[in-house]
C-alpha cells in the first residue's frame, strides 16, 4: 500500500488529523512572547503558560529587596574602598598582600622527595662520570690503606718498592749534576793536558800550578815516562772518581763496587808510575808533573793536590781515587732512605 509506505514521522501525508495532532515548533519569537507574558497571535494554546509567566514576573517585581547581611549593608552604606585596593580583591585573592602559605608538604614527604631528587641526580650523570668517580674513590681508598701499611704483604711490598723507586727518581737530579761535572772534568783533563804540554814546550812559568818550578827543566824521557805514568794514573784516578760518582748515583752496592775497582786501578796505576819513575834516569829532584790535571778539577782535586807528597811521588792520584771512593760511599750512605 503506497500510503503506508510513505507515512513516517516526518511526513504528514496520510495522517489522521483527529488522531495525531501536531503542534508547531516553539520558535524564538513565540518563546520570547510567552516568557514575557504576552499571548502570541496564532498560539492560543499557550495562553495559560503566558499567564503563568506574567504572574511570576509581576510578583517578582513587586517583591521588596531582601534585607542585606551586615557585610553587604556596610558596603552599600560606605561604598567600596578602592583606595585600599578592596575593589578587585576577592575572597581568595592575594592582591592586597601575599597570603601566608600555611600548608606545605609533610616532613616525611619532603625527605622522601629529597632522596628521590638525589637518586635522580646520580642517575642523571653519564656512565663515564660514574666510572671516574668510582675509580677516584677506589684509588684514594687503596692509597690510604697502603700508606697506613694495611695492605696484604705482596701488595704492600709492591707499593713500598714503587714508593722507594719514586723517591729515588726524585733524588736523581744531583746525579745529572754529577754527570755534568764528570763531563766537565773530562774536558778539564784535556785542557790540563794541553796546559802541561804547553808548559813543557814553552817553558813559561805557570803560577797556578806547582809545575812552575819545573818550567825551565829540560825534557827527558824519564820525565816523560813519569809524566805519562802520572797522567795515566790521574786519568785512572779520575776515571775511578767518575766511576765512583756514577756508582754513588746509580746505587749504593754498585757504587761501592765500582769505587773499589776505581781504587784498585788507581793504586795499580800509581804503582806502575812509581816503578817507571824508579826505572827512569835520575835527573835530579824533579817533581812529578802528573798532578796538574787535578788542579782545575773539582774541589776534590784541590784537596788531593794538597795531600801531594813532597817527594814528588804520584801518590796523589791513588789518594784522590780513594777519597773519591770514600766520598761516593758517604754520598750513597746519605742517600739511603
Amino acid at each position: 500500500m503506497p500510503d503506508e509506505i510513505t507515512r513516517n514521522a516526518f511526513d504528514q501525508s496520510g495522517d489522521d488529523e483527529g488522531e495525531m495532532t501536531r503542534r508547531p515548533r516553539l520558535d524564538d519569537r513565540t518563546a520570547d512572547a510567552v516568557f514575557s507574558g504576552r499571548l502570541p497571535a496564532d498560539r492560543e494554546d499557550l495562553a495559560d503558560v503566558a499567564a503563568l509567566a506574567e504572574t511570576l514576573r509581576a510578583a517578582a517585581s513587586a517583591t521588596p529587596a531582601p534585607v542585606p547581611t551586615a557585610s553587604l549593608n556596610a558596603m552599600l552604606q560606605d561604598g567600596l574602598s578602592i583606595e585600599n585596593g578592596d575593589l578587585p580583591v576577592t575572597v581568595g585573592s592575594n592582591a592586597a598582600a601575599p597570603a601566608t602559605q600555611g600548608a606545605r608538604l609533610p616532613n616525611w614527604r619532603r625527605k622522601s622527595m629529597l632522596l628521590e631528587m638525589i637518586i635522580a641526580k646520580v642517575a642523571g650523570i653519564s656512565l663515564l662520570a660514574k666510572t671516574g668517580v668510582a675509580a677516584a674513590a677506589i684509588t684514594a681508598g687503596a692509597t690510604g690503606v697502603a700508606v697506613t701499611g694495611n695492605l696484604p704483604a705482596p701488595a704492600q711490598d709492591a707499593f713500598d718498592r714503587a714508593f722507594v723507586q719514586s723517591e729515588d727518581d726524585e733524588t736523581e737530579a744531583p746525579t745529572d749534576e754529577a754527570t755534568e761535572a764528570d763531563a766537565e772534568a773530562v774536558d778539564t783533563e784535556a785542557v790540563d793536558t794541553e796546559v802541561v804540554d804547553e808548559t813543557l814546550v814553552s817553558e813559561e812559568p805557570d803560577t797556578e800550578t806547582e809545575d812552575a818550578e819545573d818550567a825551565g827543566r829540560p825534557e827527558v824521557p824519564g820525565a816523560e815516562g813519569r809524566a805519562n805514568a802520572d797522567e795515566n794514573a790521574g786519568e785512572n784516578g779520575a776515571h775511578g772518581r767518575a766511576t765512583a760518582d756514577d756508582a754513588a748515583t746509580g746505587g749504593r752496592d754498585f757504587g761501592q763496587q765500582r769505587a773499589e775497582e776505581g781504587k784498585q786501578r788507581g793504586e795499580e796505576a800509581s804503582k806502575a808510575g812509581r816503578d817507571r819513575a824508579a826505572n827512569a834516569p835520575d835527573d835530579g829532584a824533579e817533581e812529578p808533573e802528573a798532578e796538574e790535571p787535578e788542579e782545575s778539577d773539582a774541589e776534590e782535586s784541590d784537596e788531593a793536590s794538597a795531600q801531594q807528597q813532597p817527594e814528588g811521588k804520584p801518590a796523589g792520584s791513588a789518594a784522590t781515587g780513594e777519597e773519591k771512593s770514600s766520598s761516593a760511599r758517604d754520598k750513597a750512605a746519605d742517600r739511603r732512605p
Binding site: 516553539l26 516568557f35 503558560v49 553587604l72 552599600l76 567600596l80 574602598s81
Partner: protein, 188 residues
C-alpha cells in the same frame, strides 16, 4: 526590570565605589535574584542573595558590557551559587528542622515567599518540570534572558537550551490543561 537611565553611568559610578550606584543596582536586581534562588529550592535566600551581591560588587571592576550583559553576569554568579549550595548539601545534609512543617506557630517562610511569587499554583506548575527545564524557564521569565544568554549562564549550547524550553512549555501547557494546577484566571 530595567535600571533605567544611563546604565553606563550607574555602572561606572558603582565601579568607582559610589554607594548610591551600588544601592541602585542592589534594589533593582536583588528581588529577581532572590526569587530565582527561591524557585530553585534554596533556603536562607536572603543570605545567599547577599553573598551573590558581595561577589558581584567585589568583582565589579572586572566587568565590562551593557545592561543585558550585566544581568546575565549577575545571574551567572547566582547560578554558580546554587550549584555550590547543592553540592554542599550533597556532602552535608541539612539537619532536621526544629519546627515541623505543619507547625502553626513557626509557619513556612519559604511557602509564604513562594505564595508571594504568584501563589501555590506557580509552585505546583514548576514542580512538573525537571531541574534543567526549571532553570531555563525561571531564567527566561524572571531574569528576562534570551536563549543564548541562558546558555551562557548554565553552560549549555543554545540549541540544547531551546530544546529544554520547548519541552518545558509543552509540559506546563499540558499540566495547566489537565487542571492539575489551579488556573489563576479561573480562581481556586
Amino acid at each position: 526590570m530595567a535600571i533605567g537611565g544611563p546604565f553606563r553611568d550607574v555602572l561606572v559610578a558603582a565601579q568607582t565605589g559610589a554607594p548610591w550606584a551600588l544601592q541602585l543596582l542592589y534594589e533593582d536586581l536583588s528581588p529577581v535574584v532572590a526569587g530565582y534562588l527561591r524557585l530553585q529550592g534554596l533556603r536562607d535566600v536572603e543570605d545567599h542573595t547577599s553573598e551573590v551581591f558581595l561577589g558581584v560588587f567585589r568583582n565589579l571592576a572586572a566587568f565590562s558590557g551593557d545592561e543585558a550583559g550585566f544581568r546575565s553576569w549577575v545571574f551567572t554568579i547566582a547560578y554558580r551559587r546554587i550549584v555550590d549550595e547543592r553540592r554542599r548539601r550533597g556532602r552535608r545534609p541539612d539537619p532536621q528542622p526544629l519546627v515541623a512543617e505543619n507547625d502553626p506557630v513557626g509557619g513556612d517562610v519559604e511557602a509564604e515567599a513562594l505564595e508571594a511569587l504568584g501563589g501555590s499554583w506557580v509552585r505546583e506548575a514548576l514542580a512538573e518540570l525537571t531541574d534543567e527545564q526549571r532553570q531555563v524557564v525561571v531564567l527566561r521569565i524572571l531574569a528576562g534572558l534570551s536563549a543564548d544568554e541562558v546558555a551562557v549562564v548554565i553552560g549549555k549550547r543554545p540549541g540544547a537550551v531551546r530544546v529544554l524550553q520547548h519541552r518545558a512549555v509543552e509540559r506546563l501547557r499540558r499540566a495547566l490543561e489537565r487542571g492539575r494546577v489551579s488556573d489563576p484566571m479561573g480562581g481556586n
